[in-house]
Symmetry: C2
DNA sequence: TCTCCATTATTGACAGACAATCATACAGCT
DNA sequence: AGCTGTATGATTGTCTGTCAATAATGGAGA
């Protein structure tokens, strides 16, 4: 099999818009619920309407954008109920990815995974949330590449993007950091033993712990919002209906 | 909670094109590897290029279409290796969906699931493959609706579409039908007992059995193709690279 | 037969236009 | 005041035409 690591593929303008827009959403440059009108995006990216519309369609399918007919695209909003569902799916997909990694990753990839883990473990508690999120992202990049399953990689990637905002807040919780490190250590150690079942369990446990923290935070926010006089407007939350 | 079953949402032309194109692909009206040029699709659907391009972008994100730069969209092709991966993911997602159904579906939904199962069980062995696929599709529709998890529903839906062609051939295997029915019966019965673990196992088992049959068929085809002088051209299999 | 080049078709991207629809504000009525 | 209806303005959905860049095709020539 030829090495295609040096292969370059031409990147149409559309792809760049897709990537930047995706990035802008998952880094919260656009807030959930925000209206992304054609005009605005055209001006922002300096491209024509057609390109914007195509990019929006792709991000719509990825679930990052919700399009309401005759009103246009909005940044998707994740309710507490939906977050629960996301974590439920993540737990099994991540477990599957971990198991695949334990089975099929090369020794180099395992070493790489440990290296990223050590970086996470060495992070001071007061670090910027985006730094931590970036490290965790790299951890997942290694994991998803080494699990040798394109489909689990794609879907987990989408899920991680989908609730990246929530993840940023849970990761940044200083009291949570040592627990996170311990959980990830369990994953890495299980992988190093090539322990299928152990990795599965460790991954599952990790996500479920994260889910608990996330939902606690979400409920606190909800409570705080309820005590405030005017609840956030939350414009047009998912009026779209999946067909089929 | 207000009943939104009467809600009507306007369907832009684009949505119709998306649906029809998706349907045409999963029912094999377009063969894998086939080139779907703008012109052709414009003529077929009688709409402008912009609409076509947007629809293609959406189906690209769903994995049904692969777009190679400067050559346009092709119907995605599923290699044996990829099929293995799809079944691996399906097994856990379907298990999760089943578990969610066993926990959270209403008694009406459980009855509905059994009703569809009875239809499947009553199918004569010589039935058309598309009839069976349609029934199975309905089974999944009920399951995915009742599991109360939008995300697992979306992802499993995509996976089922992705390998619908393969599923049609495995389902149509007459020697396989009784086994299929038995496996699905196990699922339904576990659900009726509200047995989380049992449903999980039954679903997992069902997919793994299906995977075995599918891979056997794929290998037979591959062997047959290899014995033939000219192997099928299989133009441009997944040259696209996922970013990030 | 093979190689190289010119022609042609197709994609990627842009701009302009138009009807349909939605949001808003304002006037009028009870 | 509170509600209803309408006029205005902005935005979306869609079509058309245009143009450069790239890939596929086919033929000329060695």
């Amino acid at each position: 099999m030829p090495d295609d690591s040096l292969q370059i593929t031409p990147q149409p303008v559309r792809r760049q818009v897709e990537e930047r827009l995706r990035d802008a959403i998952i880094t919260s440059r656009f807030m959930p619920g925000e209206h992304l009108s054609d005009r605005k995006l055209c001006d922002l990216f300096g491209v024509s309407r057609g390109v914007i519309r195509e990019a929006v369609r792709l991000l719509e399918a990825e679930g990052l954008i919700v399009v309401v007919p005759n009103r246009g695209p909005f940044v998707a909003y994740l309710s507490a109920a939906e977050a629960t569902q996301v974590y439920e799916v993540r737990s099994v997909l991540e477990a599957l990815a971990g198991q695949g990694f334990a089975e099929r990753a090369s020794t180099e990839e395992i070493a790489e995974l440990r290296a990223v883990f050590e970086e996470i473990a060495a992070t001071p508690p007061g670090a910027d949330r985006m730094v931590l999120l970036g490290l965790k992202r790299r951890f997942y990049d290694v994991l998803l590449r080494g699990c040798r399953n394109t489909y689990v990689a794609r879907m987990l990637d989408q899920l991680l993007n989908r609730n990246s905002q929530l993840r940023a807040t849970t990761l940044s919780d200083p009291s949570r950091l040592p627990h996170t490190v311990a959980e990830i250590r369990r994953i890495v150690e299980a992988v190093e033993r090539r322990d299928r079942e152990g990795t599965w369990q460790a991954c599952r446990e990790h996500v479920m712990q994260a889910a608990q923290v996330a939902l606690r935070i979400l409920n606190e926010h909800a409570a705080a919002a309820a005590s405030r006089p005017a609840p956030p407007p939350r414009p047009a939350t998912v009026p779209r209906r999946r067909s089929r």
